[in-house]
Assembly symmetry: C2
Homo-oligomer: 353 residues x 2
């Protein structure tokens, strides 16, 4: 299986590490030999139709900061494959997608919830050229999931996105594959680890919002600009993806009523605590299909009530009652494992056709 990997940040690099460490096992269990035939980062690209050397790719990125230096690297070992490196430009992706034979394009550029770029164009280009897509980038889906699913179906390609919700925690798979014959009536969840960490610290340690945010920054849980997290947009993007995939709704992030945690103050949290409750940023799809992200009071005893950076979702099903799944919601290796899961699914779907 030949892969074009677009984006070589933390997730992309972890995917390469995962493929290196699991190669034998993936072949033995799934009959699959994934090869990366091209990869791009923000500064350049490298193409090798017979498959790039993955050790070298990691080493080059570490030493030079871009995969475009692949040629320059004088490491140990022989690299005699025909290959080509190039600087990146706006329509480079289209050129690569058109000219390089591959079964799957993995889109791992950073999420942009304003216009979805460059991910949105990458996804559309790949679909139009008949490539299956695995994206861990929430932007394109949050803004245009209904039309992207339709476009993929029309072009006969598979579009998968496990890693966009829950990191490595298989929330989307659970809802889609584990409840056959039952019906999910509604769901609610904690979909953003950063805000959950901040709220947990306020409750457990009595920190103010600003102190807790600062603590999250020091620990590496919050970005320099944490507004996507604390204004609820990251959770809203994930909620829109879940609503499309699990509930068959045709919605985008604009259909989510969204309120972040900036206005949650320590007094509210301590007052809630006295009544055995906690304030959590809850993304929910209720029985009338209304979508919202907002701070809500939750009973401390509920399975949904997880602390720290954990994510959790409770599904209300018609016959099996309430089912909750909890796991880490982020992490480079965790998200890479979601890509591997999708690769196996794409492979299985391809072999059925």
């Amino acid at each position: 299986m030949r892969i074009i990997l677009v984006g070589f940040g933390v997730v992309g690099q972890n995917l390469v590490k995962l493929l290196l460490s699991r190669a034998d096992d993936i072949y033995a269990r799934y009959g699959m030999k994934p090869r990366i035939v091209a990869t791009l980062d923000s500064r350049g690209a490298v193409i090798c139709p017979s498959g790039l050397n993955l050790h070298r790719l990691l080493e080059v990125k570490r030493l030079y900061g871009t995969v475009a230096a692949y040629d320059r690297y004088e490491g140990q070992g022989e690299y005699t494959d025909s290959k080509q490196t190039m600087e990146v430009s706006n329509n480079r992706i289209e050129e690569i997608v058109r000219s390089v034979d591959a079964e799957v394009l993995v889109e791992a550029t950073p999420t942009n919830l304003n216009d979805g770029e460059p991910g949105l164009s990458n996804v559309i280009t790949a679909i139009k050229h008949g490539k299956n897509i695995i994206t861990v980038n929430k932007g394109p889906l949050a803004l245009a999931m209904p039309s992207l699913l339709e476009l993929a179906e029309y072009n006969g390609v598979i579009l998968r996105f496990s890693g966009t919700v829950g990191g490595g925690t298989p929330i989307l798979e659970f809802a889609k594959h584990c409840l056959k014959g039952d019906r999910i009536l509604s769901f609610k969840g904690i979909l953003n680890g950063t805000t959950n960490y901040i709220l947990s610290m306020m409750e457990e340690k009595g920190l103010t919002f600003d102190e807790a945010l600062n603590d999250a920054r020091i620990k590496g849980y919050a970005e320099a600009d944490p507004s996507l997290d604390i204004d609820g947009l990251d959770a809203a993007a994930k909620l829109a993806i879940m609503a499309n995939w699990i509930m068959d709704l045709k919605v985008t992030i604009r259909d989510v009523r969204c309120k972040g945690i900036r206005d949650v103050n320590l007094n509210d949290i301590l007052e809630a605590k006295r009544h055995g409750k906690v304030i959590k940023l809850i993304a929910s799809c209720d029985e009338s299909r209304s979508l919202s992200v907002e701070p809500m009071l939750i009973d401390k005893g509920e399975p949904l009530c997880v602390n720290g950076t954990l994510n959790a979702v409770t599904f209300k099903s018609e016959y099996s009652g309430e089912l909750t799944i909890i796991g880490k919601g982020a992490g480079g290796m965790e998200t890479a494992s979601a890509i591997l899961r999708d690769l196996i699914e794409v492979r299985e779907a391809m072999s059925i056709v």
Copy 2:
């Protein structure tokens, strides 16, 4: 899809209700028309090759206590199908399995962890006559799962058992289908709702073991003879099933080191509580594949730490970290929904062959 339903207690009756209420949807979504062509309870059997009338079946059971009275019932509506009722005898199942055309036998007789009967014989008979099996009876699997899986494979039939662990909560499916490409290194869980209720009541309300057990009896969570639950055998049976299915071990309940909760006293629980911990009956398969059921101290903040009759399992995976799934562990309709899930899986597997 023709079904022989063996056992017509709470689960069997709920399965019939579920098939009645979901018939149209099951056909629309899965192209499946389940028909019950024979059913047996402890007092008799009724056979109808074109499919029994499900409303009549429920009504007859309610009025006369046995499906064998199907002929006698003078309800509304016309029942002109050719059918046959009979008293039950020891080798009646063999006779029915041999003479009635069906794709699946659903085994829903009560669990017996001593010799597995009558479930064990029913399962073996069905496999030998080429019928696919869905069992919600833990007995046969707890005592002989490795050889039953082998026998099923040898005879080319499918053996499924979702409802044996977690009631309607898809614990087995989650571990088997949602973590492709990853590896489960170990797991631990609360697999018995009755003991979890008792321990929760002791901790929350300060009841003694006997008081809490009595409360569980009143609420209908504990049997008249609750020894299977409180001695840990029910949890051990489920653990053995999980170890076979998820970890590919060849084990039975006899390979589980098992200690129940009879010796847990209120002082231990209150002492643990002072240190932010709780005592739970934990079934675990550790990284060295050692299996045990025993009361253990758990941090109150762990996702695994659920109260009341809930079940919970935490899987430790190599790449996605710790994943927890929580849900109701029992219930007639919940377990029936697990049978429906299995029916859909059997149907899908049959159509691939």
